[in-house]
């Protein structure tokens, strides 16, 4: 039932708003709203009950194992939320003088430094509001860099075919054309193809490492050399940073620009679709181009750098300062972990993924890429089962929901047919991993014996399988 269906005309008196409507004398009638907006009219109890019950219809980390590959669905420590919501932070007006927000700015300055250290970059801007905006900012910096050197012909961005969709989309938003680089069956970039592709038109290469195939790009040093030799820059998509925290640093691999998804690696909650943060880091030669604002310290006082300080900046990406509430949560998380805690993240995320990969193989699943170390995630391909039993990876996913697990990422990366991309994260226990693997094995068995169980799944959720085709064909996008 929609909140609108609990509404009754004439219900009123929310105790949250001023009791009376002050007169709007002086506004010409033709600028005023002729009748009230059609919003629901419900009591606070009705609203609380409705949204509490809706919440219960979600899977979430706090209720289920959520091994969504590429998304790093780790535990979000509660203290990050309660501290970030302290009135001393939640009450700051973004345009209040810097002197009035020194406590907040101190956190941001330290966060910039910590991110630079863990990634091996020279400087960071916290401005981008999600990974994709970080990519935009990074690619725009690459563009501005070439332009600033008078190197205006570099119009092409190289992107491996395994890359996330945001990589090509971001490049195009910056005015680049995109050239895809193929990936070998072992998961590494095809170096020959890359060598053939680079040239004076090459602005740069965008790479995720470990890649979206769940393996570490072993030739990263050669790749960096090829691109750099051709005059291009290297962009690091930080979505998979969780796998290497404290173990190896993108800056040391040769990357010039990087975005980090704080809502993945640094545990800020995903909120059912954001807010996130795609903080960007750069090597020295790109520092002047960082998006604004950036926090700096003059003597004992923190303040934001502006266009006056940074005339070469690519500019601003939001009205104020990105998503400070998210940044605070990441800051708190990093302080809780410390250097030693970060290294543990990579170790146990990797241990969990490799354990599941070994178990998957043992239980008869085909791996997307065989005979390699998994990074923090790995891929199962159901191509064979699909052919034999006429069930799809999507059917597997839906059946998992019935067993109380969120499904892994399906059909991404696109290179591997009928794939499940599985990322357990470091915060899950062996108990959970074993239960999940047992469920997967049971479903494999069901696929052979009772495939309709998969096709008709889910059966235990608030709704059964939803008709996506109908949704797109007979558009119903709002309550009427």
């Amino acid at each position: 039932m929609l909140i609108y269906e609990h509404s009754a005309e004439g219900r009123k008196g929310a105790p949250q708003a001023p009791r009376q409507k002050a007169p709007l004398t002086g506004i010409p009638a033709h600028l005023l709203r002729p009748e009230s907006a059609a919003l629901p009219q419900v009591s606070e109890l009705q609203a609380v009950r409705h949204y509490t019950r809706l919440s219960q219809q979600n899977f979430s980390i706090d209720t289920q194992f959520y091994p969504l590959g590429s998304c790093t669905m780790k535990y979000n420590p509660r203290v990050c939320h309660t501290l970030a919501m302290l009135p001393g932070f939640s009450g700051i007006h973004p345009l209040s003088p810097a002197t009035q927000q020194q406590g907040f700015l101190a956190c941001m300055a330290e966060l910039q430094l910590m991110l630079a250290e863990i990634t091996g970059m020279a400087a960071f801007s916290l401005a981008p509001m999600a990974g994709a905006q970080g990519e935009f900012a990074g690619v725009a910096m690459i563009k501005t860099y070439h332009q600033a050197r008078g190197d205006a012909m570099r119009r092409e961005m190289l992107i491996p075919d395994a890359a996330h969709g945001t990589n090509p989309a971001s490049s195009v938003m910056c005015g680049f054309s995109v050239k895809e680089i193929p990936t070998l069956a072992n998961g590494d970039v095809d170096i020959d193809a890359l060598t053939a592709a680079v040239g004076p038109q090459t602005a740069g290469l965008m790479l995720t490492n470990p890649s979206t195939l769940g393996v570490f790009e072993r030739n990263i040093e050669s790749i960096a050399k090829i691109v750099h030799d051709a005059g291009g820059l290297l962009y690091y998509d930080g979505a998979n940073l969780n796998a290497i925290l404290g173990k190896t640093r993108p800056g040391d691999m040769g990357f010039d620009v990087i975005h980090t998804n704080l809502h993945k690696t640094f545990s800020t909650p995903h909120g059912g679709g954001g807010p996130g943060s795609g903080a960007v880091g750069v090597a020295k030669r790109l520092q002047a181009f960082l998006p604004l604002p950036v926090v700096t310290k003059d003597k004992d006082t923190y303040r934001y750098l502006t266009e006056v300080d940074c005339p070469q900046s690519i500019g601003r990406l939001s009205a104020f300062m990105g998503n400070p509430g998210v940044l605070l949560r990441a800051y708190i998380y990093m302080r809780l972990l410390g250097a030693e805690g970060m290294e543990r993240v990579a170790e146990f995320a990797t241990l969990n993924a490799n354990y599941m990969q070994a178990e998957a193989k043992r239980r008869g699943f085909d791996l997307g890429i065989d005979n390699r170390r998994a990074s923090h995630e790995f891929i199962i391909t159901l191509k064979q089962v699909a052919k034999t039993c006429h069930v799809s990876a999507m059917d597997f996913a839906k059946r998992l929901l019935d067993m109380g697990f969120h499904a892994p990422t399906t059909y991404f990366p696109m290179l591997i047919a009928e794939c499940l991309l599985i990322e357990p994260t470091e915060t899950e226990s062996k108990e959970v991993l074993d239960a999940f693997m047992a469920a997967l094995e049971q479903i494999l068995h069901e696929a052979h014996t009772r495939p309709q169980l998969l096709k008709e799944a889910p059966q235990t959720l608030p709704v059964k399988r939803l008709d996506e085709v109908k949704a797109a064909r007979q558009l119903d996008l709002r309550y009427k």
């Binding site: 949204y51 001393g88 250290e117 954001g274 030693e340 990579a346």
Partner: protein, 477 residues
């Protein structure tokens, strides 16, 4: 090990299953030359108690002065229930609702949000949010350009890289829009060779100068942007501008404050046929100030522009049994399907803020929003009247404004603000540098949160400040 549940025994069992001796071996594909050393700049881990102490200290270092700043972020009362509900783990720790059947809570809320936003704006469709108001305006501009058949051979930002030789698309951008919105739009769209053309405002009213617009009649402009109210808090003659734009084959992009839409004419009803794209910042609907975010951008449009709309959209459909349910729909617009030909690169958006806004609107209802908006109006007018009655203070514009207004001073505004802050008053935003033609100009706002005593305190403080010498209190640069 904080947040890591493994026991020594489990680690041993897992390593054995993998077939390696120790965890370190799992990293053996990383070239030795690339192994990181120690992370010196990262301090030792803190316990929760220690980190709480630190953050409480930091929180105390931020001021709790009375806030009369607006300029795109407003201190409103948020019903306690809003964040009590948003913070529930099931909302807070879910991902984007890719598995629809396991995400009906989030999906239904987005559908309700789309319903409420289209009701407020009187538009046909809404997406599920953009990052913020400024970036939403940039996306609105991109939409308008993609929709302009005169400029591009066909939709899709994808072509951007290949059409460098086309004539640049142009958009009319009044200078009385939020200066940072204009900057952000430039940052985001200029890579696609889009030009933003300034339109000056009328020096008497602060509103968009129709005569100046008329100078552009007949030129190929993809759209004109209108802020209602504009950055100065002044009201625009939205009907006239909308009709003028449509007559001249331009789309109309409205930048509005969603709270004020509860009492102001909705963009869908502007002029003869209404605005085409509506965007703005959702912060006034349940987001705390929080140093600038997270807030969220909203983006609505007419049905005809639906396929140009970036971001997620939720549709109602049916399940196998014919019961209603909700899914992400029209995903072929998005980057994870369309990749380089997507309407935008946006992926993660501002989901939780949408949950907050939906609950906020449900609890307040139209009446609650109207009463709030009207209280902002009343407080700002009360404050403006009393401040401008002081010697040396004048109201810059002479036409209707809503809950922000611009004052002009004879003394430097920067120095006045510093002196006010020392008295516990955040007096507004100094806009002298952005608008030199206005002299020493201050943008002031009083929301429903400012009580009669608060207003009196501001008046008294300003009176005191103006009565004293202000030399050297603030560097004027």
């Amino acid at each position: 090990m904080p947040f890591i549940p493994h026991t020594e025994q489990e680690i041993a069992d897992m390593l054995e299953a993998i077939g390696v001796a120790e965890i370190e071996n799992l990293f053996d594909e990383i070239p030795d030359s690339l192994r990181a050393g120690s992370l010196n700049a990262i301090p030792e881990g803190l316990t929760e108690m220690e980190v709480s102490r630190l953050l409480h200290q930091r929180a105390r270092q931020n001021s709790t002065a009375l806030c009369f700043i607006g300029a795109g972020a407003y201190e409103h009362h948020i019903p306690a229930a809003v964040w009590e509900l948003c913070a529930r783990g099931e909302f807070y720790t879910a991902y984007t609702p890719y598995q629809a059947e396991a995400s009906q809570g989030t999906l239904q809320i987005i559908y309700e949000y789309q319903s409420m936003m289209t009701a407020l704006t009187a538009m046909d469709v809404s997406n599920a949010s953009m990052y913020d108001g400024a970036s939403a305006l940039a996306e609105a501009v991109l939409m308008a350009v993609r929709a302009d058949k005169r400029i591009r051979s066909g939709g899709g930002a994808a072509k951007a890289g290949k059409v460098a030789s086309n004539p640049p698309a142009r958009i009319l951008m009044p200078t009385n829009l939020h200066p940072v919105y204009r900057k952000v739009t430039h940052t985001i769209v200029h890579g696609q060779q889009i030009e933003l053309i300034d339109v000056p405002f009328d020096r008497q009213t602060g509103s968009t100068d129709l005569a100046q617009l008329e100078a552009c009649a007949g030129e190929t402009m993809s759209a004109v942007v209108i802020g209602q109210p504009n950055f100065f808090g002044q009201l625009e003659d939205v009907d006239a501008i909308t009709d003028w734009a449509h007559k001249n084959n331009m789309l109309v992009i409205a930048v509005v404050n969603p709270l004020l839409l509860s009492v102001l004419k909705p963009p869908g009803q502007w002029g003869e046929t209404g605005a085409d794209i509506v965007c703005g910042d959702g912060q006034p609907l349940g987001a705390p100030l929080a140093a600038g975010g997270p807030y969220f951008g909203f983006l609505c449009c007419r049905q005809a522009l639906l396929r140009q709309l970036p971001g997620r959209i939720v549709g109602r459909t049916e399940d196998l049994d014919g019961n209603p349910g909700f899914v992400l729909t029209l995903q072929a617009r998005e980057q994870h399907i369309r990749r380089s030909r997507a309407t935008s690169n946006i992926c993660t958006n501002q989901g939780l803020m949408v949950v907050a806004a939906t609950i906020h609107m449900a609890i307040l209802g139209a009446q609650g929003l109207e009463n709030t908006a009207a209280a902002c109006y009343a407080n700002s007018h009360e404050l403006a009247t009393r401040l401008s009655a002081l010697e040396g203070v004048r109201l810059v514009f002479n036409s209707p404004y809503f809950h922000e207004f611009v004052l002009q001073f004879e003394q430097p505004v920067a120095a006045i603000l510093t002196a006010l802050a020392a008295r516990g008053i955040l007096g507004g935003v100094d806009i002298s540098r952005d608008y030199p033609s206005l002299g020493q100009a201050l943008l002031v706002c009083a929301t429903e949160m400012r009580s009669a005593e608060d207003i009196a305190a501001y008046v008294a403080a300003l009176q005191a400040v103006l009565g004293q010498a202000l030399e050297g209190e603030y560097p004027l640069c």
